[in-house]
Amino acid sequence: MTPAIISLNKICKIFPLEIGGEQQVLFDITFKINSGEFVAIMGPSGSGKSTCMNIIGALDSATSGIYELYGKHIKTMTNDELATIRNEYIGFVFQNFNLLPKRTVIDNVMLPLMYRGWVMNDRIRRAREMLKLVGLSNFESYLPTQLSGGMKQRVAIARALAGNPKLILADEPTGSLDSKMGNEILNFFKKLNKDLGITIVMITHEFEIAQYAGRIIHIYDGHITFDGPVPKNESVLLKSEQDYKK
């Protein structure tokens, strides 16, 4: 049995409200993700799926509960230790790409390697490998503003892969792309998962996109209503929502 690299146990998240008071967005979230899985965390807007991803990505901390990433207790870590965890274990792909607009494509891809302390020659070599992998070898000196949306997302994927992470966290990765480009990116994720064994956790609110994964964790109103292999149609997920409401 493959070991669990992500383990969430009774994770709760409460946000203070600006107008006073507080709002709980996650309730006792518990699941494990094993190495090599392709998981889609799905749910409607405001369900808490992005908050869940931020906790998994060590960008945010849970209010209560235990989160372990590769067996490490995240809650007890300092900000700098979390930064190191993000740098070494996780590659992020965001809906709006989050590239540095005034740095060239290759500079963006090399960014995590710079913070890892690699020497320049190694950084360049690795970044070129990644750009070749995503089919952007000829664009390394371009600025992100000179690229199309699909190309930007491929640069973001190259950056996420540059540090050779065990886990890729993708937050609505096709949200800013047309369907053709979106399918291309999703197929690329599938290929990375299958060929390189990279664990992928993808946030989406669309069932069609979640179908590229092997497992769906459906969150509704801060609760997990479904966790299992991808069902044949979305009605199973909608039924789980209805069951929760009851």
């Binding site: 960008l59 930064a83 190191t84 992020f92 989050n98 913070y115």
Partner: protein, 405 residues
């Protein structure tokens, strides 16, 4: 992250917003330039005063007659000093050279030219005391003093104003209608704080007192100037002179001196203190502009942190630790300061040296310490200005930063 990475990242961030960076750098340029120029001005004033006193000699003492008080009012120029006073002072062991001096205005005529100038009656030692050298001819000797000879040594400006030939030795000029033979022309010495040193006529003091002034008190003089040996103590000699003159002038205890003893070393020290304060004041004024410049950096960096909130979030998401973010922002502010200070230094030194040499025709002293000070101040100002924005950037929550629009 290497030092090269930090420099590259800083440079890219600064050059990413050229106009704003230029304006911020301009604040530091003006600040550092002001400091450098003010230091140069202060040092020039100090150097100039020091040069003039050096030309007189710090081992020079001047005794002026008539500083007695009558009914609480300081009297004018009573001729309480005599040639005999000078002779007695000359017996003091530390006195190297001494001369009584009588000054007067003189109307001088040569051919059809007429010129009003300062005339000094003195002894030959005057040249030693005032470091006067002759360009042509010679100075008069004690025989000329004893015989009240009608010899004159004239300044180069006076010679020019009178239209004398380049070497006027042997020419006859008329001073108050009395013919004088020019026996020497002084070397040019330039202006001093007391006016031109090159427009004057020197004649034997006896000639001035007896022949020109026909004074009923031919031995009284307005001033005695003397030079003491280099190793002598000015204060000790000054006290000895005061004691001697009080005894000779029969002044009782409680009577005020009827003379003034002025020690050039003491004056120079006082002037140095005054110019030192002046220099400090100028630097303080200039430092204000540097402070304003540093506030400009802090302002720019704070704006930059807000503008680059998302960038900070991205950097943190891919693994930048807090100290790396701090170093990056600090290095940007230090780099801005450093660039500004280098340009400020070049412009400041260039302007002060250029204006000094080509407009004022004065060699402005160049000191290394303003250079060192500017670079140090630039680094300190850069660090100080960048600390708050850098900490602010480092403490940003990565999630909030990534969401920032």
């Amino acid at each position: 992250m290497t030092f090269g990475d930090i420099l590259k990242e800083s440079w890219l961030s600064i050059s990413g917003n050229k106009l704003r960076s230029f304006l911020t750098v301009l604040g530091i340029i003006i600040g550092v330039m002001a400091v450098v120029i003010m230091v140069a001005v202060g040092e020039t004033v100090q150097q100039s005063i020091s040069d003039q006193f050096s030309s007189l000699g710090t081992n020079t003492i001047v005794i002026r007659a008539g500083a007695a008080r009558r009914g609480g009012i300081r009297s004018g120029n009573r001729n309480t000093l005599t040639i005999q006073d000078a002779e007695q002072i000359n017996r003091l062991p530390d006195v190297a050279a001494i001369t009584p001096v009588q000054s007067s205005n003189a109307q001088v005529i040569y051919g059809n030219k007429n010129w009003s100038t300062l005339m000094l009656g003195a002894h030959p030692d005057y040249t030693t005391i005032q470091d006067i050298e002759v360009e042509y001819g010679n100075f008069f000797d004690m025989n000329a003093v004893k015989s009240a000879a009608t010899y004159a040594v004239i300044g180069p400006d006076t010679a020019r104003e009178l239209g004398l030939p380049e070497n006027p030795v042997g020419e006859i000029i008329r001073i108050q209608n009395m013919p004088f033979v020019i026996i020497g022309v002084m070397k040019a010495r330039g202006d001093s704080t007391m006016g031109s040193q090159d427009d004057m006529i020197l004649i034997p003091i006896t000639t001035l007192k007896k022949r020109l002034q026909g004074s009923p008190f031919p031995d009284s003089v307005t001033m005695i100037a003397l030079k003491i040996f280099q190793d002598a103590d000015n204060a000790v000699v000054t006290d000895q002179i005061s004691a001697l003159l009080r005894q000779r002038h029969r002044l009782k205890d409680g009577d005020e001196d009827d003379f003034q003893v002025t020690d050039m070393k003491q004056i120079m020290e006082t002037m140095n203190t005054v110019t030192g304060y002046l220099k400090l004041l100028l630097i303080a004024i200039a430092a204000v502009s540097l402070l304003v410049g540093s506030i400009g950096i802090m302002n720019m960096m704070l704006v930059s942190v807000v503008e680059r909130t998302r960038e900070i979030g991205i950097r943190k998401a891919v693994g930048a630790r807090e100290n790396i973010i701090i170093i990056q922002f600090l290095s940007e502010s230090v780099l801005i300061s450093f660039i500004g200070s280098m340009f400020g230094l070049v412009f400041g030194v260039g302007l002060s040296q250029g204006v000094g040499r080509f407009i004022l025709h004065y060699n402005v002293p160049f000191s290394f310490w303003p250079v060192l000070l500017s670079v140090t101040v630039a680094i300190v100002v850069g660090l100080a200005s960048g600390v708050m924005p850098a900490i602010k950037a480092a403490k940003l929550n990565p999630i909030d930063s990534l969401r920032y629009e």
